[in-house]
């Protein structure tokens, strides 16, 4: 029997390692953002980088998201490869103009003559009672607007591999990492937030969904926390003899239609689970793709589970009520299978 040594890393360390490897390889890569220096990023995304690379390449900024994200754009246009952090995605409203009107559009408006090889990383997600302004995922807010690749990895392995891909990509990439999947010591301890991560550099594509569990009875599409909930629900469903196929969406722009369609052709049932708001969300998009391109494969309505168009409430019973979880998925899957 061969023993494989598993190198276990938390999500945040996987991300930071990816950045470190690219910074070693490429002197044009640098990081700027609030508390990315000594602090190592509020959610640990830059842990250790300041010590390794110093203040010139890991730059703390003032609370001036418009200026420093805009500066990243300006630096990228001059051939640098900046990685900038928007501390919580919830803060997008103070700097979205730079993100969506400039970062995302300049390559297009210039007819491809200006490239912006930059990464905008940002923390998403709730579930720890941080209330309406610090708990959102806002996946669709970014996926709706053209010109940026948008990814939301769910495992330490993907966090590293997709970060390396993002840094090397010549296009602007919005890299959403989920706080609870960073494996931080001061948050919920989740098995999923720590796993084997190879030491060397490797890439994971930015446009491919991942079938993380195969099954024939129902397709459950999720991303980040909702993908893990889907896996949990799938275990329970398996006990009832129901085999759920679980897809980790990972990339939300562009979205990997093929993988989803192929799966629905196999299972004929679809549930989309999303920690973002319901209306005009990723769950709507996946549902619409199927309604347009694989309608006749469906043997039941497409079910969406998402935050029901209310701001994230603070109090625990309220927040738990609106967030998706494994039980809700299980219940809906049972209904889809039994009632249709």
């Amino acid at each position: 029997m061969e023993t494989i040594e598993k190198r276990m890393l938390t999500g945040n360390k996987a991300m930071a390692e990816a950045i470190a490897l690219e910074m070693e390889r490429d002197p044009t890569v640098f990081v700027l953002g609030e508390d990315v220096g000594k602090y190592g990023g509020i959610f640990g995304s830059t842990q250790g980088l300041f010590d390794q690379f110093g203040a010139d390449r890991v730059m703390d900024t003032p609370i001036s998201e418009t200026a420093f994200i805009g500066a990243a754009i300006g630096a990228a246009a001059e051939g640098m490869r900046p990685i900038t952090e928007l501390m919580f995605v919830d803060f997008f409203g103070v700097c979205m103009d730079q993100i969506y009107n400039h970062m995302a559009k300049i390559p297009y408006m210039s007819g491809g003559n200006v490239k912006l090889p930059m990464v905008l990383m940002t923390a998403v997600g709730g579930g720890y009672n941080d209330a309406a302004q610090h708990s959102q995922t806002l996946y669709a807010t970014f996926a709706h607007l053209p010109g940026m690749k948008v990814v939301a990895p769910s495992t330490p392995y993907d966090l590293k591999g997709m970060m390396i891909s993002a840094i090397r990509d010549d296009n602007p990439v919005v890299f959403m990492f989920h706080k609870t999947l960073q494996g931080l010591g001061w948050m919920d301890q989740l098995d999923a937030s720590i796993s084997h991560v190879p030491k060397e550099d490797y890439t994971v594509p930015l446009d491919k969904a991942n079938v993380v569990r195969e099954g024939k009875d129902v397709t459950i599409v999720g991303l980040q926390m909702t993908m893990h909930y889907a896996l949990e629900a799938a275990e329970k469903l398996a006990e009832e003899g129901i085999e759920a196929e679980v897809i980790d969406l990972r990339s939300i722009a562009p979205i990997d239609k093929e993988t989803i369609i192929k799966s629905v052709k196999r299972t004929h049932r679809l549930i989309v689970v999303d920690e973002d708001y319901l209306s005009c969300g990723i769950s709507a998009e996946v549902s619409a793709i199927i309604a347009e391109e694989a309608l006749y494969e469906l043997e039941a309505p497409v079910k969406r589970i998402a935050v029901p168009d209310v701001p994230l409430p603070y109090s625990r019973p309220l927040e738990q009520f609106v967030l998706p979880n494994a039980n809700k998925i299980y219940d809906e899957a049972m209904k889809l299978i039994n009632e249709w």
Binding site: Y39, P62, V94, D188, R316
Partner: protein, 336 residues
């Protein structure tokens, strides 16, 4: 801190009110720290216990709040950022309902929907929020409303020194100066924005200098001094009520605790806070009142008892209150 009677040219009742309010605010946070840590030991988990989520405490920063709120009535508006307890208490927010909100209870100011960073008490025109600098425009709007109504009400926006580098700070001050609105922006310079020292975020030494960019008055209050804060505020509030436009007041103050609870504080010297605590403004104001014969030991003791009782009552009210029903999450998006 002003150490001679002649420098204490402020009414004795105000001084006592400031003392009582600082004591209350400090004790309130002592109680909240303990509640916050419940369920978070031995392993800290931000989402566990009766008070989950982020918790930003203002222990050490009380002078900023009391020095200006001593001049305000409930018709004046206060907006506050993510670190709101001292402002809320100084503005006279209902302590029971505020505490219940922080515990996520249905009796809270927001029925448990807001939490510690989102406290709204329209009765005393207090609000706060978790986005840096975002409360300043709201104060501008309140000041505008006062002007439109022909009232002499003022609006005070509290922000940290880190917030003074956000675009909203500039836009709001320009607008308020342009329209000569009764706005006062109080910048609490507690030396850090999370881990970033002021010198790492701010191109000028102090934000009162930025008043020049709006043609308005600026003042800088040193040494976390509530009396100097009172005096600077008196002048700013007077001007605002008189239609003479906005003021920026920056106060040097001290954050004794982490940015939020759970902050490892690797970015500052371990000696820093113990040294700051040695020059605590509450102790100093108490010593001053005693040495100047403004209050007796009995009186200060009475004040302390009263302040603590308010807090203890609020704490019990909050703990004994019910949680909202889960499905209430769907209510209050729109009013009908």
């Amino acid at each position: 801190m002003s150490m001679t009677r002649e420098r204490i040219n402020i009414p004795v009742e105000k001084l006592k009110w400031m003392y009582e309010t600082m004591v209350k605010s400090r004790y309130y946070e002592d109680v909240m720290v303990e509640a916050y840590n419940e369920g978070k030991k031995p392993v800290f988990n931000i989402g566990a216990g009766p008070v989950p989520g982020e918790m930003h405490l203002s222990t050490g920063q009380e002078p900023a709040a009391v020095g200006i709120c001593a001049h305000l009535t409930k018709d004046d508006t206060v907006t506050s950022p993510h670190r709101p307890h001292h402002h809320a208490i100084a503005k006279g927010v209902d302590l029971n309902r505020m505490t219940a909100e922080i515990f996520g209870k249905v009796t809270g100011l927001g029925k448990g929907k807001g939490g510690h960073m989102h406290l709204f008490d329209p009765e005393v025109k207090f609000s706060c929020g978790g986005i840096i600098a975002a409360g300043i425009p709201h104060a501008v709007g309140a000041a505008l409303a006062a002007k439109k109504k022909g009232k002499d009400w003022v609006a005070v926006a509290f922000v940290g020194e880190g917030a003074a580098n956000a675009g909203g700070f500039h836009e709001s001050l320009n607008l308020a100066a342009l329209w000569k609105l009764p706005l006062i922006v109080v910048v609490e310079d507690n030396a850090y924005g999370i881990s970033v020292p002021k010198s790492g975020s701010t191109a000028v030494a102090s934000n009162d200098l930025r008043a020049a960019a709006y043609g308005i008055e600026g003042a800088y209050v040193r040494n976390n001094d509530p009396i100097e804060m009172y005096l600077a505020s008196e002048e700013a509030v007077r001007r605002a009520r008189n239609g003479e436009g906005p003021t920026i007041i920056e106060i040097e103050t001290h954050r004794y605790l982490g940015h939020f609870q759970g902050d490892p504080e690797m970015y500052r010297d371990k000696e820093e806070v113990p040294n700051l605590r040695k020059i605590d403004p509450i102790t100093k104001i108490r010593d001053l009142m005693l040495s100047e014969g403004i209050a007796t030991e009995e009186e200060t003791a009475q004040i302390e008892v009263r302040a603590k009782k308010d807090v203890d009552d609020a704490y019990h009210f909050a703990r004994e209150s019910e949680y909202p029903a889960p499905e209430d999450a769907l209510k209050d998006v729109f009013s009908s």
